[in-house]
């Protein structure tokens, strides 16, 4: 039995792309997007990577970046998750003000964010003075690096998590409440599991942004060197070929989590 074609009015609008054109298009997109990555591998030999990483203290920036990103991620997760949930459920007064506040760091160039942070948390500011009383400084310290990474990465998490929470049907939360769950239990048993794929994606992107934060870091957290700063300084001092091994390390550390999270969330979405 043959299935008759759908009436023209019911077919999707626009032009149908042939298989050949789709392949060529996909090739162009992949080459354009993966070109730099291919170039990186083309210019690296295993020997050059090993010798660069065997230099004394070569892996210290990696450690600093991973630790700072983990702390930044924990802070973002702790503060950003309730904010994203309340935004998604429309439970905050003046929601537009909150949304603009979240989006603003995303719209502001990172270098400018760094400059502005000096005026906010720098040594001669009220916050800077308050921090000094507890032996903290937001200038050229590990703490400053964490602050800079939070500013650069937090919008990605809050916006992604808000979208994930918004995708959970509020009627399901109501059903859980009617079945005897309190707010926290409902969140744990219904909201979080259903939002998990979106949350995982948001978290993974946030991790990649925090690991790669550079603009604001350059201004307020030049020291201690994280990986992006190490790449920049090496490029300035000894040239491109010396910087490439560190670029590879940054990619290897920053990318598997987002890719893994993407694959997991795609699978989890299919199961729902």
């Amino acid at each position: 039995m043959t299935v008759p074609p759908a009436p023209a009015a019911l077919r999707g609008p626009g032009v149908r792309v042939s298989t050949g054109a789709a392949l060529v298009g996909a090739l162009i997109v992949w080459v354009a997007l993966l070109g730099p990555l291919i170039a990186l591998f083309a210019h690296l030999t295993p020997g050059s990577v090993v010798s660069a990483l065997r230099q004394p203290g070569a892996l210290q920036p990696l450690l600093v970046s991973v630790l700072a990103s983990l702390v930044a991620l924990a802070v973002i997760l702790l503060l950003g998750t309730p904010l994203a949930y309340l935004l998604a459920r429309g439970r905050l007064p003046w929601p537009r003000i909150w949304e603009i506040g979240v989006i603003l760091p995303l719209l502001t160039p990172p270098l400018v964010v760094g400059l502005l942070l000096i005026f906010m948390v720098g040594p001669n500011t009220a916050i800077g003075n308050a921090l000094s009383h507890i032996d903290l400084s937001a200038s050229d310290t590990f703490f400053a690096l964490v602050v800079a990474e939070i500013y650069e990465a937090v919008p990605y998490y809050v916006l992604g998590a808000a979208a994930a929470f918004a995708s959970v049907d509020p009627e399901l939360e109501e059903a859980a409440t009617l079945l005897g769950d309190g707010r926290w239990r409902t969140w744990r048993r219904v909201t979080a599991p259903l939002a998990a794929p979106g949350l995982a994606t948001a978290l993974a992107i946030t991790w990649a942004r925090a690991m790669g934060a550079f603009g604001a870091v350059l201004i307020i957290a030049y020291h201690p060197f994280g990986l992006p700063m190490q790449i920049w300084v090496t490029l300035q001092e000894t040239g491109l070929s010396s910087a490439l091994p560190f670029a590879l390390v940054l990619l290897v550390v920053a990318l598997p989590l987002p890719v893994g999270a993407y694959l997991w969330s795609a699978r989890a979405r299919r199961r729902l």
């Binding site: 009627e171 399901l172 109501e174 059903a175 859980a176 409440t177 009617l178 079945l179 005897g180 769950d181 309190g182 048993r189 219904v190 599991p193 259903l194 199961r271 729902l272």
Partner: protein, 321 residues
Amino acid sequence: MLVADFEVARREFPVRLAISAQPGERLAILGPSGAGKTTCLEAVAGLLHLSAGQIVLDDLRLSRAADPGADLRPGHRGVGLLRQRAGLFPHLTVLENICYPPQASVELARETASRMGLGDLLGVRPGGLSGGEAQRVALCRALQTGVRVLCLDEPFSSLDQTLGLELLELVRTELVAAGVSSLLVTHQLHEAQAFADRVLVLDRGQILQVGDPRELVLRPNGARVAAIVGYRGFLRRGGQLLAVHPDRVRSVSQRTGGDGISARVVRVRPEGGRIDAEMEAQGEWSGRFHCRFDEAPELGSILLLRADGAPLFVGAEAVLD
């Protein structure tokens, strides 16, 4: 026993409900869309605070307008709510859904599920269920919470009529067996008739009439109730009003007491932009009436139906000659 006498403030009009339901009694709230039916259920289920009055179940005060902080939380007041969408958790299997309430036991859940024809579906996720199956799972889950009152907010209105009535019968059987009182909200008379011991007619937040389903149809106490229970047209003569149903005519005039006429249409004839009909009536209005229906727009359209070969009219209000 559930005793609810309350008011809930809404933007358009307040919704007032005064009912009592014996254990196991089935009530239906019948009314048009936007009448406040769902508001009533949400207040009983504890999802809304009251602006006046209180709700008491047996010796428990569930809600009280004077002290909303002391309202028992939804899920802790012995009241369940089934909505049109089953509200099953998509990440859990049917069995996990049914066992979701903290007090649910797997053994009892399996037994109830099997009795309700869900035995083969326990490992399936809600995405693989039909609409009717999903509603059965939702009912089964609600019963695991040990509710004493179950609110049904048009749970089967998205299903076809036959399946909807079958499921309503299943709900009835289960609730009778469990001794659970129930409040069904519907805008369909046949559902209310099939399910309830008593029907409340609600319009714009006010109860217009309470009675057994048959009494409401035979003796609507006013034009609005008549319209809600299915009378489709009205004939006026002086201060009297006849409500016309596809298979009967009732006087709903306050002056005549609202009963005692039956009639049939014997002739309908289009004539010069009007429709003339002859009606034969017995009882209070005995005799033969000549009705003239203007096709003027302000009278609404006149729809002629044919049942058993006899022409009937609905959807009009006309003055008797």
